[in-house]
Symmetry: C2
Subunit: 285 residues, 2 copies
């Protein structure tokens, strides 16, 4: 049976929010999709793509009549938006978000909202280096994993609704606690992104290198094309885990440099073999 999510307010109608709107409308999951933006031109693009039924710049006003609110804005904006949302929603309303860092946001809710919580944090592992509603697609969430907070101290119906939402748009839901989530994604997503940016900088520091860049460089650095604002906020909202991972990473860079300086053939061979096994392990292959 197809779930009915009522009036869904999507706050932030970029790639993730726009795609969610398209997926909801495409599958007939919502009575109405309301988009909330910070810039009229983004709202207009989302309206033009039929990703939302109506659009507004007024976050507080957009809560009137909403049944489900999904915040699709950069992580650092979510807490203050949640403060506005909390005071304006009806008691039955369910709230979630899509930010790539969860601990800070979920802790904020526990400080300011009352139990049982009707905000349930989500992180759909979708998207790429592209951004903006112009790249939105109703299939963005098809086959992706969405991390959702475990039930814990949440209202059961709110938790159910959030899981239903993600499953209905094609995701597989995996429950992981916020701090654990942030610790892992620091290593699987945030640091890889920072490293991709550093690799791009290092190459460009070599002068006119364009004749000597191949597919490898292109692949390694692709995600550096992501939106700076998003990644800045990820760094700021997952500081501890990223800093810890970067410290370990920096030490490993130094260790490999020493192997190279010392010409340690067998150790270098073992390093590259072990990295392949590590990659496959990380990918669950």
């Amino acid at each position: 049976m197809k779930p009915h999510l009522g009036t869904v307010a999507i706050v932030g109608v970029g790639l993730l929010g726009g795609s969610l709107g398209l997926a909801l409308k495409d599958r007939g999951l919502a009575t109405r999709v309301r988009g909330v933006g910070r810039r009229q031109e983004v709202i207009d693009t989302a309206l033009g793509l039929n990703a939302i039924d109506e659009g507004t710049l007024d976050l507080a006003g957009a809560m009137k009549g909403a049944d489900l609110v999904v915040l699709c804005t950069p992580a650092a904006l979510v807490p203050e938006q949640l403060d506005i949302v909390r005071t304006r929603i009806a008691p039955h309303v369910v709230v979630t978000d899509v930010a790539s860092t969860k601990a800070e946001i979920c802790a904020h809710v526990r400080t300011n909202w009352s139990e049982p919580y009707r905000f349930v944090g989500s992180h759909p592992m979708a998207g790429s280096e592209k951004y903006g509603p112009e790249h939105a697609t109703p299939h963005l969430y098809d086959g992706c994993i969405t991390i959702v907070e475990p039930l814990g101290d949440h209202a059961r119906d709110a938790h159910d609704t959030v899981c239903t939402l993600w499953r209905a748009v094609g995701s597989r839901v995996v429950e992981i606690a916020p701090r654990q989530h942030d610790g892992i994604v620091a290593r699987t997503s945030h640091i890889p992104h920072i490293v991709a940016a550093l690799v791009a900088e290092l190459a460009a520091g070599g002068g006119d290198v364009k004749d000597l860049v191949g597919k490898g460089f292109r692949d390694v650095t692709r995600i550096a094309e992501g939106r700076a604002e998003i990644w800045r906020d990820i760094c700021l909202t997952n500081r501890e885990a990223i800093a810890e991972g970067l410290r370990e990473f920096g030490e490993q860079v130094g260790a490999v440099r020493e192997l190279i300086e010392q010409g340690q053939a067998a150790e270098l061979d073992a390093f590259f073999v072990s990295a392949q096994a590590a990659r496959r392990r990380a990918l669950g292959e």
Copy 2:
């Protein structure tokens, strides 16, 4: 007018050597393509794919009747193979290689061969994380850039033949001196590869992370699937440039870590914006 390269001996019939054989045969550029291997099963695979007309494990013997010799083996093997080749070839023979590091190989030739040199180092910027003749394709070199040593102290006809070879299989030839080449590819290829391997190790160190790896991780780490032996040899034959670049890279990792620890929002934003510009500059976009 189609060039005629005579009997071409390809030493090492993996992805690069096998693809070269297929390209030569596909385009009718050689009278005969002779494959030289270290393992009979690889020779058999190359023969089965029709990438070579005949195959042998005997490098010295394979020089008899050859007009052009192309070494497609890992960089560290090239000098000793060149020593064998040098003593066995007829005076008109032209020799080149495809190794990703050039300074050590080209310096070896200058120490052991006599001027004007009939060995002209090449580096086709083709290939990927795949290896072995089973992945060979006649189109591997189509549209890729091949770096060739400048004429300098080489025999002009040998230099012409090597440039002709690469153009005939679809490459654009760019002339760059060996040391300069190695300094640049350390930053555009070798360090990105090492970093991809380190990113894979860091992620796997997070335990069971498979539900939290996305497309970004897959892209960043893809080249870590390359053949360990090749990359070990690249590290060993381009030690100075890689070590210098890794030192700079490690310092930058530390600098970004400090920005994150200190919560420097504007600087982090600027870092991600600047990295995008750097990537596009490196790609010549």
